[in-house]
């Protein structure tokens, strides 16, 4: 009798957690199994499995002429966007941490790119960069940067280099709100007397920022950085809407490349997915080991 009741007490949490575990299983874990399985299969155009394919999908993928350049581009894409985003956000957070009339309204303006769908933001910039009538080009023409509307120079998205630069700009633009807010909440957690102590010690505001604020912001910056790395690594709508990864694959990151491959060869696309997924796992492990999530859970 006692043991039976004890067993029921032990299993009770499963009743509360069961639905969540089931949902994670169906949506997150099982797709991983299907994906790994597909990466070893030959899959026809209609999605039917033709047969086991050994490691042929991977071999073919590694021999794709664009494979290495796509991975390198993804690395540059992630590092540049996250680094610039965090740097600008540190400044913006400092600005919006000050007291001034209308602060609440300006903070609302700041969240718009975060709340709006990234796809729409990408389309606005695609329009604004239109070589003939786009707003950004019209302004650049007025101030003399763009010599001639409709020229090759005005066709920013037609040239891989300038297209990537503009798309990185859009990615930074949509990443700024969350990052700024994360750092702002870190700033709000720093007690005022820390600054008073620093100012009595004669520290200038810049010195006290480097010596006091920045170290105390470390946890907030760390988490914001890692969440951004995951988001930017998986980012899809910006490149999809603005260049489709083209010309060729010259502006494609690994996620775009995977989606493009899916239209031709599902098996090979699955093997690209697996590689993407392994890269995410590495990032997640770094995330879990650098953040002290366990202390938070155990308290």
């Amino acid at each position: 009798m006692m043991t039976a009741m004890l067993a029921i007490r032990r299993l009770a949490p499963l009743l509360w957690l069961g639905p969540a575990i089931a949902l994670i299983g169906v949506v997150v874990l099982w797709p991983v199994v299907v994906m790994v399985q597909s990466s070893f299969q030959r899959i026809g155009g209609e999605g039917f499995v033709v047969g086991y394919n050994g490691t042929a999908n991977y071999d073919n993928l590694f021999h794709e002429p664009d494979f290495v350049s796509v991975l390198l581009r993804t690395l540059v894409w992630v590092v540049v966007i996250v680094a610039v985003t965090v740097l600008i956000s540190l400044g913006l957070a400092q600005l919006f941490h000050q007291r001034f009339p209308g602060r609440r309204v300006t903070r609302w303006a700041l969240i718009i790119p975060w709340a709006a769908s990234v796809m729409m933001t990408a389309l606005i910039f695609k329009w604004a960069l239109d070589p003939n009538v786009g707003a950004i080009n019209v302004i650049l023409h007025h101030i003399g940067v763009v010599k001639q509307l409709g020229s090759d120079q005005a066709d920013w998205l037609g040239n891989p280099g300038s297209a990537l630069a503009w798309m990185m700009g859009v990615a930074i633009f949509v990443s700024l709100p969350f990052t700024t807010y994360a750092i702002l909440s870190g700033l709000q957690g720093i007690p005022a007397d820390v600054y008073e102590a620093a100012s009595i010690d004669g520290a200038t505001s810049w010195r006290s920022y480097l010596a006091v604020t920045l170290p105390l912001l470390r946890p907030a910056i760390l988490v914001a950085t890692l969440i951004n790395v995951i988001n930017v690594f998986n980012s899809f709508p910006i490149i999809w809407e603005m260049t489709r990864g083209g010309p060729g694959y010259e502006t494609a990151t690994s996620t775009i490349y995977m989606v493009e491959l899916k239209q031709g060869d599902v098996g090979q696309s699955a093997s690209m997915s697996v590689i993407n997924f392994l890269l995410v796992i590495v990032i997640v492990l770094v995330y879990l080991s650098t953040t002290r999530w366990k202390e938070q859970v155990d308290q």
Binding site: A20, M35, S117, A270
Partner: protein
């Protein structure tokens, strides 16, 4: 307005009266800088409004502002292409995902906040890990799983969006439940409310801000989701596709119907921006709760 509200003992300020004069000026410099930043963040979406109201015959003019403003893009949006149907599909997906997330996350968050049991840490780790995985990383697996079972796209998208937003809801609700004292529940149980009564009448109302945040956040991210929606609803009638996908019907191979595109974009964007303003302050804590206190 004065920068510091607390009368802090300022050592250097006592030396001269100059800082008193300078402080309001500094505040205004800060304010102007912040207004400029706010305008920069607003401009692209203002451009969307300008474009949506631009008459078609002025689309080729290289000017920032149109000579006339028209609402015809908004009124013709509803005929033919079936934008109303897409809004309905998106509403179903976003609302369905939100309901599932709440039903699943509430018990899980309550249980992990109130009890210590074996497997609790492992469960929270699993949830934290799913926050780090996005559908893009396992797109092929998701597509093959849901299409092999022949599940209709809308239902698939409800379940998938629920799964990928679960982590946020569990973490923010866990934080709210942890902050409500157990004694409050125990006292109300003594007062004759049962365990369930205490949960419904005391705990849930106190956690309401967290619940609202989880609700709005899930709704918005399901509403805005693009990649899985694009993959699963490919080849369907535009009226049955979610809004983010259906908007792309205005992009033709050789020309883009920018007027309708941006009118539809405004319809898709403005409601979620307003919703987001309600939860603005609490979203960050939900996204980072797993890692920092």
């Amino acid at each position: 307005m004065i920068t510091t509200t607390k009368p802090a003992p300022r050592v250097r300020a006592a030396a001269s009266a100059a800082p008193r004069v300078r402080r309001p000026l500094r505040t205004w410099i800060v304010a102007v800088a912040a207004y400029l930043v706010a305008i920069i963040f607003l401009l692209p979406y203002l451009e969307m409004l300008i474009m949506a109201g631009r008459p078609n015959d002025e689309l080729g003019d290289p000017t920032i502002l149109p000579k006339h403003f028209t609402f015809s893009n908004f009124t013709t949006l509803w005929s033919g292409s079936g934008l109303g149907g897409s809004i309905g599909t998106s509403l179903q997906i976003a609302a369905g995902a939100t309901v599932i997330v709440l039903l699943v996350a509430l018990p899980a968050a309550y249980c992990t906040a109130r009890r210590r049991f074996r497997g609790r840490t492992a469960f929270l780790l699993l949830v934290l890990a799913t926050q780090m995985f996005q559908p893009a990383a396992m797109l092929v697996g998701i597509q093959r799983e849901f299409s092999n079972f022949g599940i209709p796209p809308t239902l698939s998208l409800i379940v998938i969006n629920a799964g990928f937003n679960l982590a946020f809801a569990v973490w923010i609700l866990n934080a709210f439940f942890s902050s409500i004292p157990v004694e409050l529940e125990e006292a109300s149980m003594v007062d004759g409310l049962g365990r369930v009564g205490a949960l419904l009448r005391i705990t849930l109302p106190l956690a309401a801000p967290g619940i609202v945040t989880a609700l709005i956040f899930t709704f918005i991210s399901a509403w805005n989701e693009f990649l899985v929606a694009l993959t699963l609803s490919l080849g369907q009638q535009p009226s049955q596709q979610p809004l983010t996908v259906a908007i792309n019907q205005y992009i033709g191979e050789y020309s883009v119907d920018w007027g309708h595109l941006f009118a539809a974009g405004l319809v898709a964007t403005v409601p979620v921006i307003i919703l987001f303003a309600f939860i603005e302050r609490r979203v960050v804590s939900g996204l980072t709760a797993g890692a920092v206190k």
